[in-house]
Structures are given as structure tokens and as C-alpha cells.
Subunit: 734 residues, 2 copies
Amino acid sequence: MSKYKELEKKGTDGFVTLPAESGQEEKVVELINKWGSDAIRDSDGTELSPELVELGKQVYSTICLVRADQEWPRKNWDKLPQKFLMSEHVTATSDKVEIDPMENYFREKYEIDRNHDEKEWWQVFDRTTGEEVSTDDWEFDGDRGLVVIKNAKKFHVYTVNFLVYQIWDSTSMYNHISNGWTCPHVVSTEPYHADARKHLMDYFDNWLETHPNTDVVRLTTLAYHFVLDSDKHGVDKYRDWVGYMDTVTVEALQDFEKEYGYRLTSEDFVDEGYYNATYRVPKKRYLDWMQFIHKFVIEFGKELVDKVHAAGKKAAIFQGDHWVGVEPYSDDYPKMGIDINVGACEDGVALRRLADSPWDEVKEIRLYPYFFPDVFCEGGKPTEESVSNWVKIRRAMLRKPIDRIGYGGYLSLAKKFPEFVEQVSGLCDEFRQIKENSGKTEPYSAPVKVAILNAWGKWRSWLNNFGRDQKFFIKRPDVIAVAGSNLLECISGLPVEIQFMSFDDILTGGVPDDVDVIINDGEDGTAWSGGEWWVNEQIVSTIREWIYNGGGFVGNLGPSAYQHQGRYFQLSDVMGVEREIGNQVMAAGRKFEESGEHFITADAGGKLDFGTDKSYVFASSEDVRVLEANGLHIRLAAKDFGKGRAVYMAGLPYSIDNSRMLHRALLWSAGQESELKKWFSSNVNTECAAYPEKKCFVVVNNASSEQTTTVYDGDGESFELTLDAYGSKWFSME
Amino acid sequence: MSKYKELEKKGTDGFVTLPAESGQEEKVVELINKWGSDAIRDSDGTELSPELVELGKQVYSTICLVRADQEWPRKNWDKLPQKFLMSEHVTATSDKVEIDPMENYFREKYEIDRNHDEKEWWQVFDRTTGEEVSTDDWEFDGDRGLVVIKNAKKFHVYTVNFLVYQIWDSTSMYNHISNGWTCPHVVSTEPYHADARKHLMDYFDNWLETHPNTDVVRLTTLAYHFVLDSDKHGVDKYRDWVGYMDTVTVEALQDFEKEYGYRLTSEDFVDEGYYNATYRVPKKRYLDWMQFIHKFVIEFGKELVDKVHAAGKKAAIFQGDHWVGVEPYSDDYPKMGIDINVGACEDGVALRRLADSPWDEVKEIRLYPYFFPDVFCEGGKPTEESVSNWVKIRRAMLRKPIDRIGYGGYLSLAKKFPEFVEQVSGLCDEFRQIKENSGKTEPYSAPVKVAILNAWGKWRSWLNNFGRDQKFFIKRPDVIAVAGSNLLECISGLPVEIQFMSFDDILTGGVPDDVDVIINDGEDGTAWSGGEWWVNEQIVSTIREWIYNGGGFVGNLGPSAYQHQGRYFQLSDVMGVEREIGNQVMAAGRKFEESGEHFITADAGGKLDFGTDKSYVFASSEDVRVLEANGLHIRLAAKDFGKGRAVYMAGLPYSIDNSRMLHRALLWSAGQESELKKWFSSNVNTECAAYPEKKCFVVVNNASSEQTTTVYDGDGESFELTLDAYGSKWFSME
């Protein structure tokens, strides 16, 4: 049927890290052998038994240094992590206002900083006017723990920015509250202080000495916890996986001032209460702080890694709780000399977040589900979750192979689910096959280089771009799922080159010559769309000119959205569509008819999902082609602009149909339609990846049922192929 | 069963105006008698036959003076109505840009003004920066009809504001294009010019002389057409029923400058292309212009009415095509001395728009359907439309009775639909019964005075507040329907006192003492919600204080919405809810549970309709009571604030269930729950209105099926009552 010969599966072993568990040695060893593991790891705070160590596997030992020792910080209470918090909004009902800053913060977690002068470091704001209240007009009544404002304006709203110590580590608290842990509360040490840092290094030296059997030190991670704030009931009120809110100390603020020549205020962190969330368009001052802290983290990390190497071991980091400031996409990251970078991985985006970081180190993913009683219980469906994740991860991995996989938790729990054990067994083999066959060489890409444009650029490469729906999505606590649009997941498995680019990159260097398509994917006004960047005349005219001269543009959700001078989408001239936000209700959109056939929707078969019924988007140009609309609400449109092309999408949840449509939209916008059928599998449920250097290719089935497809090789010649549910087949090109 | 005796129906006649039609005298007379008409009217441009005149009915004759004479304006082409238009957006692809201002305007309708210096009156804008282009950098090439811009910034977007004459009356054009008329194009005369005005007055003198049989002169209306712009294909591109865009002349602009001390520019009208649509928060300069034109219209109208009175006739106005500037809610309106104010009426909002205007004149509604072949054709359902409209109109009319009803079109067409003839017959009788029994006295109201707060205030009382859904609503051309939220329709029939109030009213006078509840009903950022008014510190603190001291607040859609200082709903402290707009996605809303029973939802029975699945509204306060949510999207919430109370609604389409919920929400927010069961009918499908002065009350059934209800009198005593579908019963209180 095909001139290509299927590759034989080889029975290789290795490249799998498993959690070991003292007292369950027999079960553990059985799975270690079955899944072909070459490395075992402990978990934070547990030790491996001699039997396990003697298995002869690589031993990973976990340490989270800043929360390892509990004695020193308890004697040095002023060396705990700090942060600025904002109080609740309090409405002045008279000219005197009393605010308890800690109202609605968990008092077991935070303690007001009484060591530093509040008049110097705190701020009180009239949030009705935005003005700061003079320090003459407020006092902190330490006995009552209240800020008392005098001369308040009646019925204005006031807030207090204040400095706290974190007296309970966020993760420790999470485990107590969500997982019912009862061990003592863990406190972390703020490593910025010289004496704290010295203590931590001494502690680490000792730790290295007392872990002679350890081959790999798994740091989780380095210095600063991600942001996880808790309300008065201990319930999460705010999360930012990459936010720098927990990196504040008065010493660092003072050093920053010396280095940058200006002092940051509490409001630079509090940010009206939005705390510089990743969704906010970042401000220069916050970016400066990130750089400042990142530099410290790199130094701190290098010191640790040097010690690891000196002890004859390897250094791994797990992108875990304390990973803020690590920034694997920064230019300085490799200075630390880390050997293995481990990332938790539930989907293609997480895979690419790890795999695309531009440094040559061993990359290892920790897969879900975690072997924990929440999933591995009666009625739990670990296999379902594992398969669903793997299908997404696999397609991304075919674009960017990684080096190792692994699991976490209690292996003995997994053992109780034989179907799961079998599925993982196949998964480990399939992973090793991908690694072996692809040889980590570059897969074939269509001649389309994509730049994903947002206000962050490369430091926030492959970070989940959650939309508003995420906040209103009722989640299972044990699963990471994305509600609504998820263009990144769609693109994570497509055969195109991808880079992330900031508006600032365009300001300083224009659009790079090798970019073929710019994607702007984000909700209106957020950092992902760009917000006020879209009224920067240099940005818009540069992008317009670049598209006009032949560039491609794909806008999803609220591309170029910012109300200004009669336009809401600033690139509405380019895209041919505009959003109604309420002030031109009686202005008619241009008439349109839905286009019939189009290259972009040729495989869609009515199965596209834009995640919304109502886009409130209308045609603003006569020559826009509307490819899909719900009534008058346009959800997919395409338009020529000079020699370039633009596509508008109202939203793009992850699905195999949406991924194919995006694949086609990228080729169309780049004017490369003719390149589609090269190393391409026609059936939407299937995908093809080819490795020219290794002279092999693979076709995978992403669907839960058998699929037949036509596979096109690099010359456009084709053959028919049938794949089992979720199956894959490798072929030699020779 | 009841101690109250049902009132007998009296066989009264009159108070109905019908269109007459020469050549169809027999059919016309039959309906005139059947429906009890006391007045007949011609239509624009037709004459009544002697037989019709001799019936002895009041004769209404229609004249639209500014478009009556076609000779004079054709000889005075520079006295046609003018306006400022904005060109299409044109992207500069080189430093020279040519813009055809008329591109995408209907060339049969508009002609560029070449009489006035374009450098003085036109403007060219760089819409990328918002800067006006210097007049040195552009020229109007009259021969080619193009504006040529030099020194353009590449890939900036440019527009031209330019002055045109309107060479085809908007309504005449509408009739040609939509109704297939083929008569010559009508042109209107701009009455602002002294010579034009003199001509019109002479023409009118002659008209009065030649209409000796006319009893009532029906002016349709006075000077200026509403805004109705047409694209190059003649298709509507913009409508504003109350916009002043068509009131521009260079002479008026010059007079305005003399009177107000500053000159308006084209951009004051063009407004970035939004043309000061009613949905835009109005600016002071535009409000000044409205006052200036209104003053002229009042003078012009008074001159006409004086002539009518001098001729021994009465003056009616029909709030028709040329009604801009009339402003029946202005303090100066009564200066004209109009005797009869006629308004087209399709629902309760339209009824109240006419009925609530505060002047003592005869008020007449012109009902739908219009007797026209679009509805009165094979398969047409005029009865259905008539009943559906009447049920809405009736409940509003019971709150604010009017004096007369009427119809328009071709009576002979209506005659062909016997079911319709019967239904209207009953409708006319029921109207006369309402008029007779209520005696136009004040109906009983709950002790709740409501102020509807928006950026316009009383001049835009009872104007439809269409939301974004209206733009995307595919309408039947012959029916006026509202898509989405329609709080005004709900409230139009409720037993509360209602006034409209602007933010400026609050700035200058505070919240009036007699107001119990403020409603803020509008989409985010629009004039109806208030937009930037919500960051006026005096406004927000005044409203907060007023609520805190016992006021009620009902917010619908985007109440107090304006992004500022960490809040999107500026009254989120009052309402206890906040909207997620994308920048705090990872901040959790407060936990809430849907409240069980509450006064507001006691009659709802799960039938409420908020017009949206996703409000993106979360709880920002612990003590907000969530009365209805779709998952985590809050759609109805209530909260105490000091001694006051606030209610949030995510949207309120018109339904009888929603109306009842609003009724209860108003009473609850005013703290007047105990007043509900006074002159109240328990069944949601029914309503009660009582007239203490006339010692009678009525219960109406708004549903299409028989309903049984418990009726409560003013002392809270009750009796059971059954009403036919759409039926009503009147009772004596004695």
C-alpha cells in the first residue's frame, strides 16, 4: 500500500524517573521494572530506604532549601519572606476612617511588619480619586492593628498598602487546608538577607555531605514562592504562577534604589489591587524589579549549583512552588549551570513551555496524574486523565522532543490500578520510541515562522493565556484544565516554527525578517492582546506596513483592541472587522455573506468551536470574507491587506478540528497554501511529523476510535493508512 | 365572591383618529362607524374627498412644511439641509494619501458643499495619533472630488470631515428604496436661512387658506430630520432618532459662535465617526448645540402654531421624521402652544415617552400595525401584532392615561382582515373605558419614587435604551422590536412614580429629596450607564452617601461601570459585585451560595430571563446575597449598604415575570416590602391599577390564556378573580 516501511519497535529502557517509597519496596520495584525506569526520587522530606538505593538506579533527592530548615527562621522572625498587600476597600462614612489592613487576610499566614517604619513603606490611597493620602493624615495604631485616617473625604473609598511577613509557607498551608495535613506549619526563609543566605548555604553544604547516595539534587526550586494569597478563611483569593509579589524585602528595595536610581513604592507592587497580574500590561518599573530579582536568583542558584557540582552530583530544578525569578527564557538563565530542568506537564502548552526554553540541558516532564489519593481512589479515573493528557503532550513533543519523563507521588497507589499501569507502560515505550526515532533532531516544518505578539514576549513564552471564562470555570481541584479559548494548545502541535515577541521588541528592532505570521491572541485590554500598546503609533504603523508588504496576521479574541479615535480594533483596517462595545449600536455593520469554500475551513465540516455565541464583531470593510458567523456575529474572517493577509477568530478552544483550522489559517495568512500537503495527514483526527535528518516520520491518531487517513510525504505523494484509537505508526523515509 | 361590584361597560364613542382614503369611501365609513371614530386624517400629499369631509368628523390634515414645496429648494440649491460626514478610514501606504470623502456615501443623496471654504469648515485627522492634519498639508481637488494629503505618516490612518448638502430627503429615499416608490425625489428646505424661512411661512399661509375644511393641522414635524445615513448602495449605515447631525448650516454655526463665544468644529459633530450617538456620553459642546438648535426650532414652531391658531384651527405635531429639536421634555417646549401631540406607539415605552411629557396638551398615540401591504397581505398577522403591542401599551396606559388613539395607512386594507377589525373594535372600546373610568386621574402608586439616572436625564426620558444585541438582531423591517435587556418596558407598567435624571442634575442639585430609588440601567461605558461620569468624585460620593442614608439602588447591565483605581463597577462597594474584564482572572471572587427565598424573587418560579448566560460578575463583598447565578456568573444580587439597599441585575429583557421581579426589587430596595399587597394582583400574569379619585380599579390579564388571581385592595383585603385571555375587569371601590 505504501512505499514506506514501518519502523520496528525496539524494546528500549530508561529515561523515566519514578517516585520511590520506603516500606513499599516490592511494589515499587515491580513498577520500576515494568515501566523501564532508570531513576528514582524521594519526595520533599522523605528518605529512600537502603533497599531502594541499592537498586542501582540514579537517585534524585529533593530539597527546597528555603523551607528545609525550620529552626533558623523561627529564631530570625524578621528574615521571613515579605510582601505588600492591599487592604479591603473601605468606604468613608465620616471624616475618620479606621481600616484593619488584615481584614480578609488569613491571620495564620500573614503578620504585619512592625520592624520597618510604616510611614516610609506603606501607602494609603483614596481610590475614588486615585490620590495618595498624606502621611500626616493617617497613623498606624499598633495596639489595635488599625490604620486610622483623618480628614477623610466622606463616601470616598480608601485602601491601605502595607508590608507583611509570611509566617506560613503557601504550599505548606495549601497542604494543610486542601489535603488535610496536620504536621507543623512550615515557614520559609527569605534568602535575600546576607545572614539568611549564609545560613542556607551552610545548611546546604551539610545536606550535600549527608546525602552521599544522591546522584541528582532536585531543587524545588530556588528562592521565591509564586503568589498564592489566602482570605480570612484560608481560601485562595489570588494566584499568579509567575508573579513577583513575594520577592519583596526592604533590603532589596533599598538595593534596587541604589542600582536603578529610583525607589519603588508599595503601589508599584499593589497596582490598584491587581498586583501586576500576568494579565496586566506590565509597566517599566515592574519589569525593572523583575530584572533585579532575577539577577539575584541567578546568583543564588549558581552558588547552589556550584556546590552540587563540587560534590560530584548533578543539579536539577523542578519548576515548582519556589520557581519565581528562575525565568528559563532569560539570557542569564544558563549562568546557573543547571543540568536537568524538570517541568510538570499536563498538556502541549506545558510541554512546549519546558521544551522550547532555548538552553541545552536535560529536559524532563513530570506527568499527571500525580499518584495521590484524590485520583487514585475508588471511582477515580487515572487512565482517562493520563490518555487525555498524553494525546496533547505527544503532538507537542513531536514538534519539540524532550529527554525524560517521570511521575510523582506514591507509586504503591498507582499499582492498584492495573489498567493505568498498562497504559503508562505503553506510554513509556512510546516516549522512548519518539526519543529514539526523532533523535531530538528538528522535525519538518512548513515554511512558516510564527511570532506570538503580546506585552510580555519571550519571558512569558508558552504561559497559559487564560481568558475571563477561567475565573468562572468550576474546576476539579486535581486537574489543570483550560476553559474557553486556548490557541496555544492548538498551535503547540502544529508543524510551524514559533517564537514569542513583545511590543517592545518591535519598537526596538521592528518585526524580525524571518517572521512570516504574527499572532495576537488575547482578551481585550490584557497583556496578551496588548492594551494601550495598540495606540503606540510606531507599533501600529510598523505592523500595518509589515503586513501590507506581505506579512500574515492572525488575531484571536480581542486582537489590537483598544478604544481610540473611532476604532476599537486598531487593526480593523487590516482585519476588516470591528467590535461593537455599545456606542455605535445604531450604526450598521457592512453587509456580508458567509463565504462558501475557503482554504482555511476546508477541513472544518461545521465542527469549529469559537467558544462564544456572540462575538459582537461586525464587518468594517467591504472586502472582508466572513468564513463563519452566528447570525450577524462574525466568528471567523479573512482579508487581504496589500500583499499580506489577515485572519480574525472570535476564540479558539482546543480541539483537533480547531487545531487543523489554525494550521490552515497560518499557511493561508503566510500565502503558503501549496505547502499544506507535505508530511501531512488528511484526516483531521490525525497528524504527521517527519524527521528529515533521521529519515523517518510518524503518523499519530489523536482520536478515541480507529481512523483511516491519507498521508502525504515531502513530495506530495500519498498513501492510505489506518491507525488504532490513539495509535501511532513510525515509518522509514528510505 | 368580592365585595367590589364590577363596573358596567358604557357604549361610548370617539377619541379615535382614522386615516381616510378617497375612492374607498364606503369601506372607510363602515370602519369609522364600527370603531367609533370622531376624526379622520389624510396622509402626506393626499386630499380628502368631499364625501369624507361631509361626514362631520374632525378633519386632520398633514403637512411636513420643510418638504412640502419642491420648487423653491430646487431653485435655491444652497438652502438644502447640510451636515458633516466623515470619510472612510484610509490607510496611508505612502506619504501621499488621496481620499474620496464620498466613497461609501450614496451619491444620489449627498453632494459635497463647494460653496463654503473647505479649509475653514472641513478637517482632516490622523486617526492613528488623533491629531488634526494642518490645512497646509491637504487640498481638496474639486475636479476629482478628492482630498489630497501630503507629508502623511506612512501606515497611519486618515479620515476627512466634510460638509455636504442633502439632495434627497431621507424619508423620501427610504420610501423609494424600501417601499419601491417611483415618484420624483423629494428635497427638503433648510429653514434656518432667513429667506428659506420666509418662503416656508408664505407657503404655509397659502396652505392654510387653501385648507378651509381642516380642523387640525398635523405638522410632521417641524424643521429637522432625524439622522439616517446611507452607504454607497443606498443601504442604511447609521440611524439616530434623536441626533442633531442634520441640523448643521454654516449660518447656524456662525450664529452659535456669536452667542456662545466659541466656534464648533466639524469634529464636534463627527465625534471620531460616532456622530454623538445617543449611546455616547454627551459632551458639553454638543449639548450647547442641542440647546441652540432647540431654541430655533421652538421659535419656528411657535410661528407656525400662531398661524394655525390665527386661522381658527388646532395644531398637532406628529413625532415623525422631522422631529429633531422639538424635545417635548424641555422647559421651552410649551412656548410653541401645540394643542395635540401625536406619537407612534408600539409598546409601553413609546406610550410613556408621549404620556409622561410634562405638558398639558392632548396626547394621541398612533398604533401599529400601520395599514400597509407589508403586514396586510396574504399570510400577514396584523391581529397578532396588534394584540402583542396592546398588552404592553395597556399596562403603561393604566399608569399614564392618554387622550386619543389612532391609526395610519390605508383603511381599505384593514377592512380585508375581519378578525383584526373585531380586535381593534374591542381595543377602541377598552381604550375609551380606561379613559372614562380613570378620568386621567393619578393611579395609586406604591410609595416609591424612582429616578432613572443616565448621562442624558429628562430630555431623553423613555427613549429606547438598546444594547449591543440590537445591532446583531435580525429584524423584521415592519416591526419595532427590542433585542435583549429592556428594563424600561418592564417598568413602564409598574405602580411607581418615575422620573429621569442626569449626572449633571446630581452635580448641581444632589439627589432630590423625594427620590426613593435610583436606577442605573445601561451597558458599560454608554451614556445610559454613564461612562466617565462614574469617576467624578462628587457623583460617586453623593450617590454612595444617599444610598447609605437609606436610598435604594437598582443597577442593570453595567451599572457604574468604568475602569478606575482597581474597580470596574465604581459602586461595587454598594452592590457587592464586580465585573471581571480580564485583568484579574486569577483573583477569586468571594464564595457565595445562592440565597433561597427572597422577597425579590418570591414570584419568579425559575422563569427569570437575564438575557445572558455569562455576566462575568462575581461577588466582591461577603455580605452580598446572590439571588440567581448561572454557575459562578452572578445575574441577580442584593445587598444592604448602611440604611440603604442595592440590587444588581445582569440584564432584564421584557417579560411579565421580569416585570414582577423588578416591581419587587424596587419595593425591596426602597424598604417598602410591606406595601406590595395594596391594589395588587398576585398572579404574575395579571396586574392591578386603582384610581382613588375616581373610586375604581381594574385588573388586567397580560397572558394569552385564562388566569385566576388573588386581588388585594388598598387595605390588603383580597378576593379571587378569573380573567379571560388578555381580558380586563373594572370594579367600583364603593
